[in-house]
């Protein structure tokens, strides 16, 4: 059994490989034998010594789904409640409150289900019932679930795998404006106008910075002293 993994496991990056190591004298191995003999050097490492299903988790950024069918700002539908259930045989999510109206989800919309005990995940909608009672999914639902759980269904961007002029970049508006600067920079580069290119690249990175700082607005308030000049 693995424990104290945050203190006893380490990784080393070698090109496109990740090498895992475990502390030999850690909680699962004694460094000193009963007769007092030191078994390992300090900080001596060994290879992982156990099987763990899905034991390694890597969080990373990638160029996945660069284009979507709908602007990110328009994918804003959220439904939440305790009236949702799942029917595995027909791959349906039903709403006892008949809330799947035309103003909500439509066919080909992508959705994310959270809060369910059995069918959390990302799906695409195949069709919508005309009485608004259920939606049919393209993907399989593994088990039935009755109403009662507080479930949230959120619309997520639907990928456009064959981008055209009507596709949208999978970015918010601020980053889409940064794209405009990047394209202007590349156009300037094409004609050899390096000064102009540098200007637009600076604008591009400026908007990237603005986009990040927009998420981290901090306001500070200082009380003024009784004898402060006002």
């Amino acid at each position: 059994m693995s424990k104290y993994v945050d203190r006893e496991w380490f990784y080393y990056l070698r090109g496109r490989e990740l090498l895992l190591y475990k502390l030999l004298g850690g909680s699962s191995n004694e460094r000193i034998t009963q007769s007092g003999v030191l078994k390992t050097q300090q900080n001596e490492l060994m290879y992982p010594d156990e099987d763990i299903s899905d034991g390694l988790r890597i969080e990373y950024t990638s160029l996945s789904e660069p284009f979507v069918k709908e602007a990110l700002e328009d994918t804003n539908i959220v439904m939440s409640g305790i009236t949702f259930s799942a029917i595995a045989a027909s791959n349906r999510i039903a709403d006892s409150g008949s809330g799947f109206t035309t103003s909500k989800f439509l066919a080909n919309d992508a959705i994310r289900v959270q809060g369910s005990s059995t069918f959390d995940g990302d799906y695409t909608i195949s069709s919508r019932d005309s009485s608004s009672a259920y939606i049919v999914l393209n993907e399989n639902i593994s088990a039935n679930e009755l109403v009662g759980e507080r479930i949230t269904i959120t619309q997520i961007p639907s990928e456009d795998s064959t981008p055209s002029e009507t596709s949208h970049p999978n970015l918010n508006r601020m980053l889409s404006l940064a794209l405009v600067d990047y394209l202007k920079a590349m156009e300037a580069d094409k004609i050899g106008d390096i000064q102009r290119k540098e200007y637009y690249i600076k604008e591009f990175y400026g908007k990237l910075g603005d986009n990040e700082s927009n998420k981290r607005k901090i306001s500070m308030t200082f009380p003024s002293g009784p004898f402060a000049v006002r």
């Binding site: 900080n43 060994m46 992982p48 099987d51 763990i52 981008p163 002029e165 949208h168």
Partner: protein
């Protein structure tokens, strides 16, 4: 904002070139910030020979954020530290 709108704002007429530039720009954005994060999970195997501790990084990876290992005593993933250099003392044998 559609690709056409971006092209009109920049004065570009070649759609495929604009799409390629947009991909390049998104690559740069993903390299500089965490706009969209993916998660990859792999099974850990009990090492029995000299290359059993080697795991492949995801082929589509741009920037590595965190590496975690599942702590089976409580079922939680915990972030592990990176070694800046290969270990000085190492046992390839897992049952010393």
């Amino acid at each position: 904002m559609t690709i056409l709108e971006i092209m009109e704002r920049t004065g570009t007429k070649e759609t495929s070139l604009a799409i390629a530039y947009i991909k390049d720009a998104i690559h740069l954005i993903q390299s500089n910030s965490k706009e969209k994060v993916k998660i990859n999970k792999q099974d850990l195997i009990k090492s029995s020979d000299s290359n059993d501790n080697v795991y492949q990084l995801p082929a589509d990876m741009i920037a590595l954020e965190y590496v975690s290992i599942k702590d089976t005593s409580d079922g939680k993933y915990k972030r592990i530290k990176r070694l800046v250099a290969p270990p000085s003392y190492l046992l390839e044998d897992t049952s010393p």
